[in-house]
């Protein structure tokens, strides 16, 4: 592990104790989305479109309603028509994606839902809902969607960001543009220019837990929802919008969440479960099958990206031109904006144009996926940079060092970088033994780098001191990968009490203040800051209580290692236990809330090194060695920082080699299973070596930057560059499957 700055004497931060929720999760007690059972609960089933694009002519539910055990059947008309109500466009999209009204826009789009007393009855009833469609022509890719005369998904869609605005509607929702300097001049100064075109396929977050929701509605309009999501406050907000009720009427309890990676920031089942429960007068559970997860929940965009870059003889990038089109799926909102901002953000480039398009097509609406938008752009840019380094005979780390963004560099997306740790990640790779390890026959080595903003946003926390001096830390950020542990570690550090005497919990929407989603690598930063703030309020309170007890001024009291000490030592110390036991005498229970809109987000960088071996006769690629270096700012919980780094890398390896959505010409997904949507299995991988770099974020009390996302940005190019090194073939289309590699090898030998 490479630590660039010494740990400043923390007792708990940076240690590796057992996570607070671990016991429940290794004993099977933890309650995930589908685990809840309520008395009288019904099972629901969703009816989905078999067509990629069709007008709903009619829906006949009479047969389904008449079936044994069926208690409710709902369709789009059971929800308010937000478009008719003049709602905000993005809310209309959320509602239209939750259940279709006039048109279905992708295979798997919801058209109805049923609830019945058993699973089998619900399935039978779902099959009995008769939907008549008028099938419309569809578009599946950016190429098809942007073609002249392409069928339109949304007849009124005029491209935003183009001046003057186009007169005619199209499938292009918006255009983004970033530019600086003079492109012609930059390419004129280049010694070598490389231009390549890349494509990537939609890939799914692939969380192992399918979406699940249980709703229990009351007759007074209130309802309780249990669901696994990355943000139960967000689920509440979206559900309220779709149902047309006040958020305060909905209580959402966060079940344990079985993976999300961005894909569980979206509602699918929750408002349907509530409406079914209202109609049936009983609790309703809705759980997706795996094939529904693939067909109807958010993958990330398929893309087409062109990159042209030039370098001087000494490896300085003189110009970069990037063109990118991102599939949004059925509704606008692909991550092309972030892609445009991140594509070349690792580097200090004087002349560039980055142009991007958000394009709708007849596939499921894309959802966030770990550093949304950045990985595809990085695949393209880092592949071209690898070519440039080869062309001028420069070491791949050295060329990145020669152009690396540092503190004060004006980022390609606008502002100047504060203190960042990109260079340190490059050096960590270069210093690691993997960088010079021997390579065997048909083996190759690739380097790639990535940038992600990380996010802040809103968080709340409550800290209670219990009567024996233990503490309960309450947040509203679902714990998707060990965040309870980082909350408890920071609270232990602040309060000066043992980690083991702190319980960290995730509370429902009525028990703690608002929290934005667990996403954007924000929880340890923002929710962590709220926990730190709440702890500091408590420490102030404790000092005041000690001062009261000793009859001294507050400034005579210090809080050291969990106890109040008199600065001159004239009083015996008062421990937290003492103060808690007698809290009634000093003002009552000891408790504090803190809420904030986080500031001081620290950008994340990752540099990765991949060794592969390619079988030149079958095109099969195996990763034989992998190293990832990432700037965590501060690793509050190093076990789970490594876990995020390793997990991001392995998702990236899957994206690089095998994962893809395959649609037939009718727009029907052909591989909606874990058998044919091939995420990596244990035997596909080596150990994933980690170098945690710590360049503290000056704006956070512990220097946290956020670690969840940037790890998935470099792997595709790292693998591609290693394949190039192994077999002399540049792969420009993802996934770099055996079929594609063998095709490329055949072309090369022709």
């Amino acid at each position: 592990m490479a630590i660039t700055e010494e740990n400043p004497g923390y007792k708990w931060v940076g240690t590796r104790p057992i996570r607070p929720d671990g016991l429940e999760k290794v004993t099977g007690k933890a309650q995930f989305g589908a685990d809840l059972m309520l008395p009288g609960m019904l099972f629901g089933k969703v009816v989905r479109s078999p067509h990629a694009h069709a007008r709903i002519v009619s829906i006949d539910t009479t047969a389904a309603e008449a079936m044994v055990g069926v208690k409710a059947v709902i369709t789009g008309s059971d929800f308010p028509d937000l478009a008719a109500n003049g709602a905000h466009a993005s809310d209309i999209d959320v509602a239209s994606n939750a259940i279709a009204r006039e048109k279905v826009l992708y295979e798997g789009h919801v058209v109805a839902a049923v609830a019945a007393t058993t699973r089998d009855q619900a399935e039978a009833a779902a099959k009995a809902v008769e939907v008549t469609y008028e099938v419309l022509p569809h578009v599946l890719t950016v190429d098809e969607a942007m073609a002249d005369g392409a069928p339109l998904l949304h007849e009124g869609m005029i491209t935003k960001g183009v001046d003057p605005a186009p007169e005619n509607p199209s499938n292009v929702a918006s255009k983004i543009l970033h530019e600086r300097g003079d492109l012609d001049q930059g390419f004129g100064e280049a010694h070598v220019v490389v231009e390549r075109e890349f494509t990537t396929k939609p890939v799914h977050q692939g969380y192992i837990e399918p979406h699940a929701a249980v709703a229990d509605a009351n007759t007074d309009g209130r309802a309780h929802i249990w669901c696994s999501s990355q943000g139960h406050f967000q689920m509440r907000a979206y559900s309220a919008t779709v149902l047309g009720v006040s958020p305060g009427n909905l209580k959402v309890t966060a079940a344990e969440i079985g993976g999300g990676f961005g894909g569980k920031t979206v509602i699918y089942l929750e408002p349907l479960a509530v409406r079914l429960s209202q109609r049936a007068g009983r609790p309703v559970k809705l759980v997706m099958d795996r094939d529904e997860v693939f067909r109807a929940t958010g993958p990330t965009s398929g893309t087409r990206i062109r990159v042209k870059m030039g370098v001087s003889e000494d490896g300085k990038i003189t110009a970069a031109e990037v063109w990118m089109a991102y599939e949004a799926g059925a509704f606008s909102g692909s991550p092309v904006g972030a892609a445009g901002m991140t594509a070349i953000a690792c580097y200090d480039i004087p002349n560039f144009v980055v142009e991007g398009y958000d394009v709708v097509c007849n596939k499921p609406r894309v959802a966030a996926y770990r550093a949304p938008g950045a990985p595809m752009a990085a695949f393209a840019v880092e592949s071209v940079l690898d070519e440039l380094a080869r062309d001028i005979g420069m070491d791949p780390i050295d060329i990145r060092l020669a152009n690396a963004a540092v503190e004060g560099t004006q980022a390609s997306y606008g502002p100047k970088f504060p203190r960042i740790g990109f260079v340190e990640t490059l050096e960590a790779i270069k210093d690691h033994p993997n960088y010079t390890a021997d390579l065997g026959p048909n083996q190759g080595r690739g380097v790639s780098a990535g940038f992600w903003f990380n996010a802040g946003m809103m968080s709340s926390a409550t800290v209670h001191i219990n009567e024996n001096g233990s503490a309960t830390v309450v947040t509203g950020s679902p714990d998707i990968g060990g965040s309870r542990q980082s909350m408890a570690l920071m609270a232990a550090e602040e309060l000066g009490i043992p980690y083991e005497s702190i319980k960290a919990v995730v509370a429902d929407t009525e028990t703690v203040g608002f929290n934005d989603v667990t996403g954007g690598s924000r929880v340890t930063l923002a929710t962590g800051a709220a926990v730190v703030d709440a702890c500091r309020i408590i420490v102030e309170d404790l000092r005041a209580r000690a001062a009261k007890t000793w009859d001294v001024e507050v400034d005579q009291v210090e809080w050291v290692e969990g106890q109040a000490q008199h600065v001159e030592g004239t009083q015996p110390p008062l421990s937290l236990n003492d103060l808690a036991a007698k809290s009634g005498r000093t003002g009552g229970p000891i408790s504090a809330n803190a809420s904030l809109n986080s500031r001081g987000v620290g950008a994340g960088f990752s540099t990765q090194l991949c060794d592969v071996e390619v079988d030149p006769e079958t095109g099969v690629t195996r990763v034989v060695r992998y190293l990832t270096a990432q700037d965590a700012g501060r690793a509050i919980s190093p076990d789970y920082v490594e876990g995020q780094m390793q997990g991001g890398v392995v998702q990236g390896i899957g994206w690089a080699l095998n994962e893809e959505y395959i649609h037939n010409p009718d727009g029907v997904m052909e591989n909606p299973s874990f058998l044919d949507y091939r995420i990596p299995v244990a035997s596909d991988l080596p150990m994933i070596d980690c170098a945690i770099v710590e360049v503290p974020n000056p704006a956070h009390p512990y220097g946290v930057r956020g670690v969840g996302e940037v790890g998935i940005v470099p792997p595709m190019a790292a693998v591609g560059n290693a394949i190039r090194d192994a077999i002399d073939v540049r792969m420009t289309d993802l996934p770099m499957s055996p079929v594609r590699i063998l095709e490329a090898l055949n072309e090369q030998s022709d």
């Binding site: 006769e617 052909e670 299973s673 044919d676 035997s683 063998l742 055949n746």
Partner: protein, 289 residues
């Protein structure tokens, strides 16, 4: 849907002849996904695992008899069997995860009718015979004759496979099975290749059988490859002929798992490699190497 578990072959056949819509199963590792996908909806599920002879492995002087519902894990864990039929044991061991291995069977793998079934090319090269029970008694059919097309069997609706007969491996012989999948596990073969060779005393190839999976509607033999091998050693020339013949005999499809061109090319590669391994095993077994 009704579950029944007959305890004898006779009980099972009579059940099948009286139930209009019955599905026999052993491990159900293919049956359950098909039910879930709505591809079949039988009225009766007939569990064959409670019939003793269907879950057994017996060796005598001339042959092995393997019950059709025997979990493949039992086969791969049977040391004597796995040493004698390394290729067939490995092929059986490729059918899914350890979890699946405790359920999957040679009978199920064959009767699913998938062109990509891993154990089938390995059974074909070893000349395995299926003993089939029906209302009128039993009959014996070469495994190669059981599947007639994707999902299509030459068995009647009221027939099922009781056991497989596998003649003991001759001297100076070895078998092998290789498959290509994009991952290392948990995939359906994109191409599969089985080979068995018997060497003459001088070390040349006396007999060779090569069979391919996943490259045609059924498992296919590669007679030209076999002919090229007989009387020769596996030198560059004969191996190249094997590869060429294997690619030539393919009649694959383009699908989500692979392309025609890829399957043809890799069928050649795997056939060649499988032959080499089979030869090596034949040599090792007889102390030639």
């Amino acid at each position: 849907m009704k579950y029944v578990a007959p305890s004898s072959v006779e009980e099972a056949t009579s059940l099948l002849s009286t139930s209009p819509s019955a599905q026999v199963f052993a491990g159900a590792t293919d049956v359950v996904p098909q039910l879930r996908a709505g591809r079949s909806a039988p009225e009766v599920l007939v569990d064959l695992k409670k019939i003793q002879e269907l879950v057994s492995i017996v060796k005598d002087d001339t042959k092995w008899t393997v019950g059709a519902a025997t979990p493949t894990a039992n086969l791969t864990e049977d040391q004597a069997f796995s040493e004698e039929f390394q290729g067939l044991s490995e092929a059986a061991g490729l059918i899914g995860s350890d979890q699946i291995q405790n359920r999957s069977s040679l009978g199920g793998n064959l009767c699913n009718g998938s062109p990509a079934a891993d154990s089938v090319p390995a059974m074909v090269v070893n000349g395995v015979r299926a003993v089939i029970a029906g209302p009128n008694g039993t009959r014996v059919l070469d495994v190669a004759e059981v599947v007639t097309g994707p999902g299509q069997l030459s068995l009647e609706d009221d027939e099922f496979i009781v056991e497989f007969e596998i003649d003991r491996m001759p001297e100076r012989s070895g078998d092998a099975y290789l498959r290509m999948i994009p991952r290392t596990e948990m995939d359906i073969a994109v191409v599969g290749a089985g080979a068995r060779v018997t060497l003459a005393e001088d070390g040349s190839i006396e007999e060779a059988i090569v069979a391919l999976g996943a490259v045609a509607p059924t498992v296919v033999r590669v007679p030209e490859a076999e002919a090229a091998l007989v009387g020769n050693t596996p030198n560059e020339q004969t191996l190249s002929a094997v590869a060429g013949a294997a690619s030539e005999v393919c009649n694959p499809i383009d699908d989500k798992r692979g392309t025609i061109a890829y399957r043809k090319q890799v069928a050649g590669v795997l056939a060649k490699r499988a032959v080499l391994i089979a030869v090596e095993r034949a040599q090792q077994r007889n102390g030639m190497k």
